[in-house]
Symmetry: C2
């Protein structure tokens, strides 16, 4: 479990240790009590000086992950990665509902624009036809975990941005347009380093990892109603692909 740290690859040791502690917490490093091992033990475990561990803990405390108290120890404020399901019936709040006290999905912007090749293909319309773009931010317990960009056919969903903004729910917004249920048709997943926009919008450190999903959602008749690109903070969530019950089509 002792991560192999290296000097000279552009990431300071204290930040590698910080990432290691964050990952370790998900694997029970802090135990049931949520209490981190003493700095000296962490220093030995990571093979670095205690000063370096202190710098790492200081950074994590500043991020809100840890909380140090003189004489008592260092305690974890957020436990483990959230598990985000990407099965065919994905709903943001429903999926995270039992893992966080407070989940929210708020709109942070919208626009009408001509569709790009990918969006048009996904929605089954001609390239360049007007689509509605909706930008939203998903939070769990106040911490940003996902940043989505969704597109809708402007001819069919005029006003959906306002509806989503007022309800804070994509399911409710789609229901307002007669879409009673929808399913995820396909999802592609890739991982990359955080760009400047990611560090700003998801509150990430440079060099952090972002999981990117590209999805198409269809109504019950199989007609595409929405496509989206979502960026997740990889250190805060893991994705879970839920399979349907055995015996269905392949």
């Amino acid at each position: 479990m002792t991560a192999h740290l290296q000097r000279g690859l552009g990431v300071a040791l204290w930040r590698q240790v910080a990432d290691g502690i964050r990952a370790g917490i998900a694997n029970g490093l802090a135990g049931e009590a949520g209490r981190l091992p003493p700095e000296a033990e962490l220093a030995q475990r990571f093979g670095v000086n205690r000063h370096t561990v202190r710098a790492a803990i200081s950074a994590l405390a500043h991020e809100g992950v840890l909380e140090s108290q003189q004489g008592r120890g260092t305690y974890v404020r957020r436990r483990q990665r959230l598990v985000y399901p990407i099965g065919e019936r994905t709903r943001f709040s429903a999926g995270l509902g039992d893992q966080a006290r407070d989940t929210s999905s708020e709109m942070v912007g919208t626009a009408r624009e001509p569709s790009t090749l990918w969006v048009a293909t996904a929605l089954g319309i001609e390239t360049g036809k007007t689509v509605i773009r909706v930008e939203s931010l998903g939070k769990a317990d106040g911490v940003p975990v996902s940043r989505s960009t969704s597109w809708f056919d402007a001819r069919l969903f005029d006003g959906i941005a306002e509806l989503f903004s007022s309800t804070g729910s994509m399911t409710a917004a789609l229901a307002g347009f007669g879409v009673r249920d929808y399913r995820r048709a396909s999802t592609s997943i890739e991982a990359r380093h955080a760009e400047e926009a990611d560090t700003r919008e998801l509150n990430l450190a440079p060099g952090a990892i972002v999981l990117v999903t590209r999805a198409v959602n269809c109504d019950l008749s199989g007609q595409p109603v929405q496509c989206s690109v979502t960026r997740f903070a990889a250190d805060r969530v893991e994705l879970s692909v839920e399979a349907p019950a055995p015996g269905s089509s392949g």
Copy 2:
């Protein structure tokens, strides 16, 4: 487009620039010819010294993303990611079959060991019962793309390692034990920075990203037959979740 870089975050400027260049390439920074702007221009664009840009380019060249030639310029080595399907009927070679000339899956080790909590839970046996662990390496056109660790109930699949080793196919190996077909029951996906083992086994550069999937495969009756942890080189593959035809269970 000018990313605003910051000092003192524990991430070296040259690494932030490297991430910026990598992101920029995806947005057409290198143009049609795949040629990067001159170092001096990049330096001005990122607001850093040319030496810092050179350090970033050097790192990307070491990763295999870029290639510099004195007097000529710096060029992008265009390699598009392989799409790896993780639907319910995933097969390594079948999934990649049309994207690479030559795909192979070779066994690189095996052992009998007591099952850990996760493996036992996944396979539906008691913790500590003996399981067979099979280590394998997946390649496409000679380049390693995935590194899997699989576990089987030793009571049911004694000798499967030898069968997999000789056939090079997990499907064939399972068929030898009467498993005519199998389906993926669940998959969790997370992303993290490459550890030392990853850089060695998948031939990655330090700081690269690894996609980790944890999966359970069941036979047609729903009985678990195999569980596995697979590490993918995130810069060589993207995962694709294939949905079944609409109308199945949810």
